[in-house]
Symmetry: C2
Subunit: 349 residues, 2 copies
């Protein structure tokens, strides 16, 4: 196993994060985008909140269904009612419609050493439109020039789409629009153009054919994507047999692009692996992890809001060859692990 967990894991837990309003509690802080910014590491955290539930109550916080500009509302239903179906800790169905038990926003945290983080007191990007009525999740940050592009999952009754925002300072963000339609998430935008076009991996879902595979798209403007190429699928009998999706923003190595991705098995266990992609045609996968590079084994990875999960939205590839992978553990907290480019390259087949 080429990844070494930080001794001080978990780095950030819900206790470190102020809720966005006094009647809410933070239940999860995880799946953070990451960027090196001058002398600091900046994480853009996914913070999931909810009102404190009463016993026997299921809650779904969301933007006002009739008018998202009116702010948050809470759907309250009784657990065990005939019109309620509890799926897991994250999701329930009520009268045939799907709801989330928490609503996520994005919030920065900063650190000089990459281990001790100061979490902002208030949200940076909060759900604001009907495509985001159930929350915004799992940001990835790509630096291109002096701009930082943040893509995130936008969840609503219409499904899981992917939105794009841009910032220069992580203070002011401009929403650019929806770049992928339901259900599509796990978008990782490459940090440079290839062949004159922006490039990303994305992860659409085919309900009819039961697939959740990675594809590549190109774009002239970061907002409109197409000429899609199939990249990689699930592998029967392996650790990534059920679903896969992009994780960290890819980074260039001497051998090609390295993508740290997540795979899910039939037991709903989320692990991390690596793919090595052709430097000029990154839809071509040269090699891939036969076994996970990180599996949920530590206590904070095995138990949490949704257990047995390690899931990354970003890594820092340092000039000295070290790679720090920040990851969400058990859908509950932020942790990190260290490896090197050489070890990752040596681990793929």
């Amino acid at each position: 196993m080429p990844m070494i967990r930080f001794d001080d894991n978990p780095l950030i837990t819900p206790a470190d994060v102020k809720p966005s309003r006094p009647d809410f509690e933070v239940v999860c802080v995880f799946n953070a985008g990451v960027i090196r910014l001058g002398g600091e590491i900046l994480l853009l955290l996914r913070v999931a909140e909810r009102p404190r539930p009463q016993p026997g109550e299921l809650l779904a916080p969301m933007l006002c269904p009739d008018d998202p500009s009116k702010g948050l509302e809470v759907l309250r239903v009784r657990s065990g009612s005939p019109d309620v179906e509890e799926i897991d800790s994250r999701v329930f169905k009520y009268q045939g419609s799907t709801y989330l038990t928490s609503i996520s926003h994005l919030r920065p945290a900063r650190s000089k050493d990459g281990r001790n983080f100061t979490v902002a007191d208030t949200p940076a990007v909060f759900p604001a439109c009907r495509e985001e009525e159930f929350g915004i999740e799992d940001p990835r940050i790509t630096r291109i020039g002096d701009r930082f592009y943040v893509n995130y999952s936008a969840i609503s009754r219409m499904g899981i789409s992917t939105g794009l925002a841009v910032t220069r300072d992580f203070v002011t963000y401009e929403r650019m629009g929806i770049i992928f339609v339901p259900d599509n998430r796990d978008v990782t935008v490459f940090p440079e153009k290839i062949g004159g076009l922006y490039v990303c991996y994305h992860r659409p879902v085919s309900g009819m054919f039961g697939r959740a595979d990675m594809w590549l798209a190109t774009s002239p403007d970061l907002l409109r994507w197409g000429d899609h190429k199939y990249v990689a699928g699930t592998r029967p009998g392996m650790w990534d047999c059920r679903r896969i999706g992009g994780g960290a923003v890819p980074f260039r190595t001497s051998k090609g692009w390295l993508e740290i991705y997540h795979g899910v098995d039939d037991a709903q266990r989320y692990c991390l692996g690596a793919m090595l992609a052709d430097g000029e045609r990154p839809e071509r996968i040269i090699a891939r992890s036969p076994a996970p590079v990180l599996s949920p084994e530590a206590p904070y990875e095995r138990e949490g809001f949704f257990g047995n999960v390690v899931f990354t939205c970003g890594a820092v590839a340092e000039p000295d060859g070290r790679v720090i992978v920040y990851y969400g553990a058990a859908d509950w907290c932020v942790a990190a692990a260290e490896t090197t480019i050489d070890e990752l390259l040596a681990s793929v087949r």
Copy 2:
């Protein structure tokens, strides 16, 4: 009901179409793209074929799974086997994977009067790559300048994506690439740019949230699409409560864009309706059919390969205000019905 069926319906049936090879039979000819071309009406038919099955046999014709360039193969399974699940006449599952019982290609038919068609003896666009391994379906034709853009559903184990091809003569076609990823179909490209960009409606599916709604996207090059806007959804309790999707390529009227779309109800009945969209911002739907403009009522619409279906991929809006809608009936044959722009505009609320 403002639509009047042609007396000579159905216009084209499988008996009118030669199979692409002697061991195949044509089971369906339907869902045709349409364009007026000089003095002729050209239909680009969806032709669905299969090998003649033996009793008790389920067949899935497809491109060779290991190497699509090797041409067609046939999966043969026993009906009633424990590892076979028969979904309907179109689809079965075998060992957990989804297969189609026929494979579709595109083939032109031409007519001087729009009623009597001569069907080409051979396919024009045949499945050729792994995104198309289970067939290409439901073409829509959009004329832009002297080029005809044909988008079609590309079906494979990866799901239902949408491909784009271009032709100048309906003899030679160039595939441009995949424009929408699984599951996304029912793409209708507008015949002119709006605000300097190409525009289309498309119909992604959210498995997690159980939605099949219409969205709008824009593109600088027809190949890369984004800045997606939600357009219209299903309507509980109405004829389009289960699924909707674009049908004919939209055409301009004095009141805005007219889109003839299909809606599906809980009984899997496919009807046609109309939407009137803002002329400059066609993501804004001004009015919509309270009741279908065409429902499956004629015998050839009620019974066929998959009954109770009327489904359009194209209409011809004549300069005199007449609108001829060509449609697939019961997933089996091609039919047509006539109305006027005024009647369609009067029918929406």
